[in-house]
């Protein structure tokens, strides 16, 4: 991976002016279009600031000049058709894309003011400040208890009372405590899919992350388990800053405070969820949320 010090995003010249109707065609033709960011987003206090962020996989550019603040202690959903770059953007937040050889980026992201892509940034320390939950639940092959306290263990914490407390608090925070409190030392693999996913969320919040990244967390779950995870996301609101990627529009509308619509690696429109789903500014966003394309 190659990090360039100088941002190459178009700063000097404004992006070519395009009207709402041809915005998507302009994007498809590779032209820059301005993002439509609602004022409410800019008024919120950000926990994470994505600043003119570009990313290339080899010669192919996957993210184009993304600039967006992620509000503190709120749930922000990234929506858009497959290949729009929402998962790439999410993975860039905790530098998972560092693991991909051909990836090159410009621009920056700042977590509570600290540059994520500063060459001096310790990536392991950075990842401790974030929690991530993937599409498929990935509990470690160990007990429920050990899964939850894993982050503390690798940090050298072995005080039983402290670990017990974190385990209970995290499982309660993930709305799983009542279901597993009598079998904390059973294998996590024996839990149902929905329980496993909530366990992964418990594991993520055990380390008290500054941002929780959820990459389509319900796509492998049935409707009942999905409902429980969505309820949990609602409960996390106000206590954690959550950035969630979802294909499910209703999930975005039900669980998030802010919604960003992406298309072909660009941020098209970003606003409050109620604004995006009742009165989007751009016709393109309207066409996407009403299912007219994508």
């Amino acid at each position: 991976m190659n990090i360039q010090a100088e941002p190459t995003a178009p700063r000097g010249g404004q992006p070519e002016t395009v009207t709402a109707t041809d915005r998507l065609q302009a994007v498809a033709a590779g032209r820059d279009v301005p993002s439509e960011v609602h004022p409410e987003v800019l008024e919120a206090t950000p926990v994470l600031e994505i600043d003119r962020f570009n990313l290339w996989y080899g010669g192919k550019q996957a993210l184009h000049g993304i600039t967006m603040p992620i509000p503190n202690n709120k749930v922000t959903a990234l929506i858009g058709p497959s290949g729009c770059g929402k998962s790439t953007l999410l993975r860039s937040v905790n530098r998972l894309n560092d693991l991909v050889q051909s990836v090159r980026i410009t621009g920056d992201m700042r977590l509570n003011g600290d540059s994520i892509y500063d060459p001096r940034m310790d990536v392991i320390e950075l990842r401790k400040r974030m929690g991530m939950v993937f599409q498929k639940p990935n509990p470690f092959p160990m007990s429920i208890y050990e899964n939850v306290v894993y982050a503390l263990r690798i940090d050298g914490e072995n005080n039983r009372a402290a670990l017990d407390e974190v385990c209970e608090l995290s499982l309660r925070g993930a709305a799983l405590w009542d279901e597993v409190k009598d079998r904390l030392h059973d294998s996590a693999i024996g839990l149902s899919g929905g329980q496993q996913q909530r366990l992964c969320i418990a594991r993520a919040i055990a380390a008290e992350p500054e941002v929780l990244l959820l990459d389509e967390p319900c796509s492998a779950l049935d409707p009942i388990a999905t409902g429980k995870v969505e309820d949990l996301i609602q409960e996390l609101r106000g206590r954690y800053s959550v950035l969630i990627v979802t294909h499910n529009m209703q999930q975005a509308s039900r669980t998030s405070d802010y919604t960003a619509f992406m298309y072909l690696g660009r941020l098209i429109e970003y606003g409050t969820t109620s604004g995006i789903f009742t009165k989007p500014i751009l016709r393109e966003t309207e066409a996407y949320v009403t299912g007219r394309f994508g």
Partner: protein, 219 residues
């Protein structure tokens, strides 16, 4: 799914327009019956109200079905919510046309009494507003809807003129008090029809632009 909701929305649009056409006809016939003292036509208006009531319920059920099965958002959501409200206002307009028709029979049976000329003008203005607001629904035209809102003031003024005239007439010819009160009541119904047309126009603005303009002037 996408095509399904588009079909449902199209179907709903056709149905609300059918209700609109029936209501427009009922209003027009009730006014004609009033001016011509045509009790038979008035009777037909009264019977047609049942059809309007039945269709109103069907449209509401259709809206609820779309909300439950398709969870529409953005323009689709605004359309369904607006249709629910427009449907309700149209049904009320149908009731008002029926009330005017009822007064025709009473006026014809009662003591002879001349309709104030303002009633005819006011009725035409209100009918124009009804036609325009329905056109605005069909075309999704917010500027036509704004025009309808502006026209309401003229109808309100005409209503006040008629009210003052009726009061004057009652003083001068107290023996005609019943008929004069019926005329006053007819003018009130026409004014309410214009108010409903204004409501529909405001729903059209919300449907197309997402702005709630109720309780606000056009400026």
């Amino acid at each position: 799914m996408t095509h399904h909701i588009e079909r449902q929305i199209e179907h709903l649009k056709e149905r609300i327009l059918r209700v609109g056409t029936l209501v427009e006809e009922a209003i027009s016939k009730s006014i004609t019956a009033l001016i011509n003292r045509d009790t038979q036509l008035a009777q037909r208006v009264m019977s047609s109200d049942e059809d309007i009531d039945r269709m109103e319920v069907e449209v509401e059920e259709e809206c609820l079905k779309i909300l439950a099965l398709y969870q529409p958002v953005a323009a689709d959501l605004r359309f369904v919510v607006s249709v629910l409200k427009i449907n309700n206002d149209l049904e009320r307009m149908g009731d008002l046309a029926r009330n005017i028709a009822k007064r025709v029979a009473q006026l014809t049976a009662g003591e002879p009494c001349v309709l104030p000329p303002e009633i005819r003008t006011m009725a035409m203005q209100a009918q124009d507003m009804v036609k325009e607001c329905l056109d605005a629904v069909v075309k999704g035209d917010p500027s036509l809807a704004r025009q309808v809102r502006e026209e309401d003031d003229a109808v309100d003024e005409a209503r006040q003129k008629i009210r003052r005239r009726v009061i004057q007439e009652i003083k001068e010819n107290p023996e005609n008090v019943e008929s004069l009160l019926r005329i006053n009541s007819v003018s009130k119904h026409i004014e309410r029809i214009a108010d409903m047309a204004t409501n529909i126009a405001e729903d059209v603005i919300y449907m197309v632009q997402g702005d709630i303009v109720r309780h606000r002037s056009n400026d």
